[in-house]
Subunit: 192 residues, 2 copies
């Protein structure tokens, strides 16, 4: 049957923790796969806040949502902002109540590969995500190291995650080991 | 809710792949937790072949099975042999048909901590396990590095697993990252 893929396992962990009607964040809209998954999960009574610094990502996500989920696409709020600013966009009354935040690091497939996420903004964005999270909420991070700067970012994120206090967060990695050294892998953080 | 434990996740992966009536192997009986789990899974029509080099492990496993599973404990065949010899014990007609093999490395809790699994026999035992496995079958390895010799064995196993050909096996790791550096972690191998 094969093991569940990295993205599939991330989605399983999120599904087990997020209820319909909750608020969630897609920190890196990209081609909109996570935003669509999250919008289905929280439904029309929930809210998805999505971020990307490239207009192309917002456009791709909007098209995907309108095509596959016309009824609830209105619950997705997209911002052309760095994810490091997510706390200024997610309403104050939702701080500490966010059920899940997804990160898909690297670059937008099909776009300029020099426009990449970088640890200088990724780490502050992850810190912001942890502050927004409710107890039992989850942050998923899909890490790529195949592009220029990717392995440095992955190492920085992994180093940061390893130092999170165990009393406050559980940090799990899910990784295929005999693939190319650049295959994506997952870090998942649950707030206790 | 917390993430599923390393042992719990290993058992989930095995449950998803093993059918009642199949043949499975517990390569390191230890205190009998895996043998009990496997015996429940394959039922009275199935077979569990268990190995340990310490009589104390066989005794503990026998007690656990008789107490918790008197009906099907007869389907568990225990050998006071190194797991490297598993192919001489598992019947020839079951070679290539084994659904799961479990390894729990390190030493037997409560027994002499100087009696440990070592890479010199662990790697040959893992090779034997892969030969016994049917297509879609799984080997789970719980690795400990907290005891003397543990980190060397874990590194040797990980290095061996990373070099398995992707066309023949998938290798997955499941690991908590912000615990002590000696927390156990899982490698799971599925035969394609």
């Amino acid at each position: 049957m094969g093991f569940v893929s990295v993205l599939g396992f991330a989605h399983q962990l999120i599904s087990q923790r997020v209820q319909a009607g909750e608020t969630v964040v897609d920190a890196t809209l990209g081609n909109g796969v996570d935003a669509l998954f999250l919008a289905k999960l929280v439904g029309s009574r929930g809210s998805v806040y999505g971020f990307d610094i490239q207009q192309q990502a917002l456009d791709q996500t909007k098209m995907r949502l309108e095509k596959e989920l016309p009824d609830v696409s209105s619950c997705v709020h997209m911002s052309l902002f760095s994810h490091a600013l997510m706390e200024t966009v997610v309403p104050q009354d939702r701080h500490g109540k966010v059920a899940a935040v997804t990160f898909n690091l690297g670059y937008l497939p099909g776009a300029d590969p020099s426009t990449i996420t970088k640890q200088e903004s990724t780490i502050p964005a992850l810190e912001a995500a942890l502050r927004l999270l409710r107890k039992g909420g989850i942050v998923t991070i899909v890490l790529y190291s195949g592009h220029d700067g990717g392995s440095e970012e992955a190492a920085a994120v992994e180093n940061w995650a390893q130092q999170l206090p165990l009393a406050a967060f559980q940090v799990l990695s899910y990784q295929f080991k005999n693939t190319s050294t650049h295959a994506p892998y997952l870090l998942a953080l649950e707030k206790r």
